[in-house]
Every structure is written in structure tokens, then in C-alpha cells.
């Protein structure tokens, strides 16, 4: 009796498996066939203002190329990102992956999986440790961005000696480390600029607020602050307000501030003359070049160069009128 029931069940399962396998192979064949059926799996480490701008840039370029996008966010969890990429490759059969790695080391297994399934793997924003199987990588240049920020301090120090509070991002994040190192290298040995306090924030706005308050309490003569990301700017402004030190450019109480990213906070603060400069990351370029790399890769062509770094664009008070249009935070 049991055997008799089992036969149709097995037959149905076999048929379903065949159909699924057929779909799978056709999807795979389709993905390589042409631009019309290209679906890109996009895996982000997290979603914030910067990532939303990057997502929009990818979506815009993909739509222009006629591609579909399946979007996943890993909520800062490297294991979750690996599972999501596995799902994109093995279940959703995407034609290519564009990823921002939560962890540049751990993502290697996902890159290997993509290679095993002939799915081009493209990384943006954050570089990965092993790039040998990555079809294309485009990132900012955090060290260069840190140096660009430092040049603003060097220029300002020509007029007034600067005592700098340096906020540091997440100590496991290469963007944070690169920005810190570039900034410190450029200021090393500089006359009239001294870093009097280095405060870690772990990219946490509360730590940035408390750390800035503590540093201002410790050394009230601090007259310059380096903020490694615009999203920490509201915290710093709150700390300055509490200390009675938030004043616009031109006011003798003004604290010289340079940030990085070019988001809405930074752009608005420059426009209001609350901060002096912002080194903007060109996130729009990430999306355009990543989609161009997808087009080349699914057509079986190698992408050259395989890795591109784009230094930031400095937006300051002098060039706001001419440069702000190129900064994503000012446009949105």
C-alpha cells in the first residue's frame, strides 16, 4: 500500500525536479545570452544614507542598461551576507553579483562560489582581501581621502595654529583605517597643526557625541575637528552646541571642521557655513562602472583595469557653487 502511494509521489518529485532543472539551466543560459535577461544580485553590508545613494546609482545604471536588480542587505552580518549571496547564485540564478563586503576576508568563500557557477563577482566601495577571482572592483581611496582632508587643515593652519580632535571610525573597517592613516601621514611633522586627541567612535553616533564632549572638556583649546564620515556630523554639532562652541565660519568661536562622504548632512552644513570642507565620495561612479563591468563580464569579456580606485572630490566654501552639483548629498 505504502509502495503504491510512493510511486506517484516520486514521479511528481522527479517531474518537479526536471522542471526546476530546466528552469535553472535556461536561466543560466539566458543570463549569458544577452543583455535583455540579465539579472544582477546586489548584496550590501548595510543600508544607510551612503549605501542608499550607492544603491540608487546601481539601480539607475542597471535600468538604463535594461537589467533587473535583486537587492539584499546583510545588516552588518558577514554570515548573513554569505547566505544571501549563496541564495542569489544557486536559487535565483543571477547573472552577476555586485557586493559591498561586510568582511573583506570572509567574502572569499562567496567569491569562490560565484566562480564555480560562472557568475561574475564585482565588489564596490570596500576592497576585498583576495581579488584574484573578482571580475572588477571599484572603491574610493580612503587614504587619499584622508590626505585630501588633511590638506584643508594644512591650508587653514597657515592663518591660525590648529589643535585637532581626530575622530576615528570602526577600527575593523579599512575605510576608517585608511582615512585615519592618510590624515595622520599628511599631518605628520606639519608645523602649526597638532592632533591633541584621537577618539574612536566605532561608527557609533553616541560614541562620537560623548567622545567629542569629553575631548572638548579635556582640552577646551581644541579648535579643529576631523570627522571621518558625514553621518557623525550631527553628533559633533550636538557636542559643540552643548559646549557653546558651535559657531559659523567667520565667528571667532568657530571650530574648523572637515568631514568625508559628501552626504546631505555635510552638504547642508557647508551651505550653512557650519563646516569648512567635505571630501565627497563619488558614489555615482561606483554604480556606473560596476554596471559597465557587468555588461562586459556577461558578454565573456575581461574587464580592464580590474581594479579602480577613485579619490574623493573636495567641496569647500570657495568652490561650493561650482562643485556641489557633482556631490551626491547636494543633489538629493
Amino acid at each position: 500500500m505504502r509502495k503504491r502511494r510512493a510511486v506517484p509521489i516520486v514521479a511528481v518529485l522527479a517531474a518537479a525536479t526536471s522542471v526546476a532543472a530546466g528552469c535553472s539551466s535556461s536561466a543560466k543560459a539566458g543570463s549569458a545570452a544577452g543583455a535583455k535577461s540579465v539579472t544582477i544580485g546586489v548584496s550590501f553590508d548595510l543600508l544607510n544614507a551612503t549605501r542608499t545613494a550607492e544603491k540608487n546609482a546601481i539601480q539607475q545604471a542597471a535600468t538604463a542598461a535594461g537589467y533587473k536588480v535583486v537587492f539584499d542587505v546583510a545588516d552588518s552580518d558577514a554570515q548573513k551576507q554569505a547566505s544571501q549571496i549563496q541564495d542569489l547564485i544557486q536559487t535565483q540564478h543571477v547573472s552577476a553579483i555586485i557586493a559591498i563586503a561586510q568582511d573583506g576576508q570572509q567574502i572569499s568563500s562567496s567569491i569562490s562560489l560565484a566562480k564555480a557557477h560562472d557568475v561574475p563577482f564585482i565588489t564596490i566601495d570596500r576592497s576585498v582581501a583576495d581579488q584574484s577571482d573578482v571580475a572588477f572592483q571599484i572603491t574610493g581611496n580612503p587614504t587619499a581621502d584622508g590626505k585630501l582632508a588633511a590638506t584643508q587643515f594644512l591650508a587653514a593652519a597657515g592663518k591660525t595654529p590648529l589643535k585637532v580632535l581626530e575622530l576615528v571610525g570602526g577600527l575593523t573597517d579599512q575605510n576608517a583605517i585608511g582615512r585615519r592613516d592618510g590624515f595622520n601621514q599628511a599631518l605628520s611633522g606639519a608645523a602649526n597643526v597638532s592632533i591633541v586627541s584621537q577618539v574612536p567612535t566605532d561608527w557609533d553616533p553616541t560614541q562620537a557625541l560623548d567622545g567629542t564632549s569629553n575631548a572638548l572638556q579635556k582640552d577646551p583649546s581644541i579648535n579643529a575637528i576631523f570627522i571621518p564620515s558625514d553621518f557623525l556630523l550631527p553628533s559633533v554639532e550636538s557636542a559643540l552646541t552643548s559646549a557653546g562652541r558651535l559657531a559659523p565660519i567667520g565667528d571667532p568661536k568657530h571650530v574648523f571642521i572637515v568631514t568625508i562622504d559628501g552626504d546631505q548632512n555635510g552638504c547642508k552644513a557647508i551651505n550653512n557655513k557650519d563646516i569648512d570642507a567635505d571630501v565627497a565620495t563619488l558614489v555615482g561612479e561606483f554604480g556606473k562602472q560596476a554596471i559597465a563591468a557587468v555588461t562586459a563580464s556577461v558578454a565573456g569579456k575581461a574587464v580592464a583595469p580590474k581594479a579602480v580606485t577613485i579619490p574623493g572630490l573636495t567641496l569647500d566654501q570657495a568652490d561650493y557653487g561650482t562643485t556641489s552639483a557633482q556631490v551626491w548629498g547636494c543633489a538629493s
Binding site: 542608499t52 577618539v199 553616541t206 579635556k218 550631527p234 550636538s238
Partner: protein
């Protein structure tokens, strides 16, 4: 004189963290100019205020031998509601109760899930942690949203020269202490945390007590969130991430047993102030950014070890007196149950 000495000795025995905080403050004040100023101590207290508010709530939960991992996510969701489009332009008298009610609802959901089922609180609140953070992300669209100036007084204002966050934290601590010491709910919390089955056998409303503890924790998370968001000036997707560890550390440092049944609000306040003072001391010391994590991790480790030692010391002492840690007569020793442990 003897009575005063006895009072001080008993006080120190009840709150061993107090001398630690005192010595640390003296040492840091002597080492770094500017640390021992009124302005700096006020700064430390303001920074500790949102932590004190939410840690008092967590003390209620941990007293029931529970845990609430969702406190950071509740922080975020409450802040998201505060700046949501539904409340844009509304006055503080409407927004603040709405945010606190949101916290109460979240805490009640936690309490119902833990109290009405036997699913461990760790699992329940791990799940709601994701739910609340996801809901917060949905409301904010994962964007930074500025907190209107009309809602910032709760974090940055003063009343009679005293910062509002400090006044709020003091009020919450006083009320929390009263609940523990003077109400049947406080006594039931300790009984349920010491031995849930025995409390049920004694006819105590165990489920109501557990649900109430989580609901209060949610309400206080909502209030803490209001204070923190007002201080920050903006609601950002990363608000409250990893905050549960800080809150639990403050509670455990203050002497509340992770096994439930024992603890105090005063200890929690001292634990929160100690964490804040350590953070400030690190900035004053000019320590390398890498040292911050080492010190924070060491404080957590010290708190857990101290809690374990206190528990072991207490159980050893009570074994001699034949009573359980909650003060009840100990059941006769049973070789089989001992072997199973």
C-alpha cells in the same frame, strides 16, 4: 561614631562599586587636569543618563532571571517613531507619550512572549531585536532624520540649572528603587527570579510579574531613546546597535545577579556611572583608540567574573546555613539531582 562606621561599612558591603567609583574618580582627577571639575562630572552624569534610564528597566528584567537583548533595537524603533511622518510637526506633549507608549508596547510584546511561553528570553528577545530594528529601518528608510529643536529639550535642556537628562535619570532611579523596596511587585520580582516554580507554588502571579518587568523595561527604553535622540540631534540607523551589551554590563557591574532574584537599582546607577567615567577617563588619558575596546571588554569581563564570584560566595555561605540564595529553607540534598547538575 561606631554607628556611623557600621553604617558606612554596611553601605560599602551592599554597594562595593561605590568605593571603586570613588577611588577611580580621585585617581583620574589627580592624574588629569580638568577631570575633577564640576563641569566634567556633570558631563559624565549627562552621558550616563540614557544608560541609567534603560538599565533600570533591564534590572527589572534580569531580576526575574530574564534578559532583554532587544533594548538597543527598541531604542532605534522608538526614535524612528519620534521622527516618523505621522508625528512630524506635532508638539512634545503628543510626541513624547507616543514614543513612550511605543516602548511600552514593545516591552509588553517581549513580556507576553516570555511570560506566556517557556521559550527562553534570550531567544525571544533575539528575535524581537531583529523585528524592532527592521521596523525602525522601514520607518526611517535607513536615512538620517534630524530631531526637531522642539523635541530636543529632553536631552539638552536644563531646569533650575540642572540638565534634564540627569533629572530624568534621577527620577527613574528613585522610582525604580521605590518599586523594588516598597511594593509587592518588587518583592515578587525577587521571588520569581530566585525560584520561579516556588513562586508559582506560593500563588504569586508569576506571569504578570514577568510581563510587567519586560513592559517596564520597554517603557524605560522608550524614555531613554527620547533622551538619547534629543542629545544626538538626529535619528540614525545605527542608533542602539550593540547597546544591549552596554546596558547589561551596567546592570551586572552594579551587582544584579544574571541568575535573577538579587540586585539593586542603586548598583545599576553606579554601574552606569562607572562605565561613563571609564569612557571619559580613556579620552582624558589620551589612550590609543585600540585601548578603548580592550578596557571596555575588560570591564565587562570583570563584571561577569565578579558576579560569578559573588554568586559562588553567597551559595557557599548559604550552604552552611541551609538556606537558598533567596533566603528560603534549602531542600534536602538529593544525590540524583546533584549528579544531574
Amino acid at each position: 561614631m561606631n554607628a556611623a562606621a557600621t553604617w558606612v561599612r554596611d553601605g560599602l558591603r551592599r554597594q562595593p562599586l561605590f568605593p571603586v567609583l570613588l577611588v577611580m574618580s580621585v585617581v583620574l582627577s589627580a592624574s588629569y587636569g580638568g577631570f575633577g571639575t564640576t563641569a566634567n562630572f556633570r558631563n559624565i552624569a549627562v552621558q550616563a543618563s540614557p544608560l541609567i534610564i534603560s538599565a533600570v528597566g533591564m534590572t527589572f528584567v534580569i531580576m526575574t532571571s530574564g534578559i532583554d537583548l532587544s533594548v538597543g533595537s527598541m531604542f532605534f524603533l522608538a526614535a524612528a517613531v519620534e521622527t516618523s511622518s505621522a508625528l512630524v510637526g506635532e508638539p512634545a506633549v503628543l510626541v513624547f507619550p507616543a514614543v513612550i507608549a511605543t516602548g511600552l508596547v514593545m516591552g509588553t510584546v517581549n513580556g507576553l512572549a516570555v511570560g506566556l511561553t517557556r521559550v527562553p528570553a534570550l531567544i525571544v528577545t533575539l528575535a524581537t531585536m531583529q523585528v524592532y530594528r527592521g521596523a525602525g529601518g522601514h520607518i526611517t528608510g535607513q536615512q538620517d532624520i534630524n530631531v526637531p529643536a522642539s523635541l530636543r529639550g529632553i536631552g539638552t535642556g536644563t531646569i533650575l540649572g540642572l540638565p534634564v537628562p540627569i533629572l530624568l535619570a534621577a527620577a527613574v532611579a528613585l522610582a525604580g528603587g521605590m518599586v523594588f523596596a516598597r511594593t509587592s511587585f518588587g518583592r515578587h520580582l525577587q521571588a520569581v527570579g530566585s525560584n520561579r516554580d516556588a513562586a508559582a507554588d506560593a500563588g504569586l502571579p508569576v506571569r504578570r510579574v514577568v510581563i510587567g518587568a519586560y513592559a517596564l523595561a520597554g517603557l524605560l527604553a522608550g524614555l531613554g531613546s527620547l533622551t538619547e535622540a534629543a542629545r544626538l540631534g538626529a535619528v540614525q540607523p545605527s542608533i542602539g546597535q550593540g547597546y544591549e551589551l552596554t546596558v547589561i554590563t551596567a546592570v551586572v557591574l552594579g551587582g544584579t545577579s544574571l541568575f535573577g532574584g538579587r540586585g539593586s537599582v542603586t548598583g545599576t546607577v553606579l554601574g552606569s556611572l562607572l562605565l561613563s567615567a571609564v569612557q571619559t577617563g580613556l579620552v582624558f588619558s589620551g589612550a590609543s583608540p585600540y585601548v578603548f575596546d580592550i578596557v571596555r571588554g575588560s570591564v565587562l569581563l570583570a563584571a561577569v567574573l565578579a558576579a560569578a564570584l559573588r554568586w559562588r560566595g553567597l551559595t557557599d555561605a548559604l550552604r552552611l546555613t541551609g538556606r537558598t540564595p533567596s533566603g528560603e529553607p534549602r531542600a534536602p540534598h538529593h544525590p540524583t539531582s546533584s549528579a544531574l547538575q
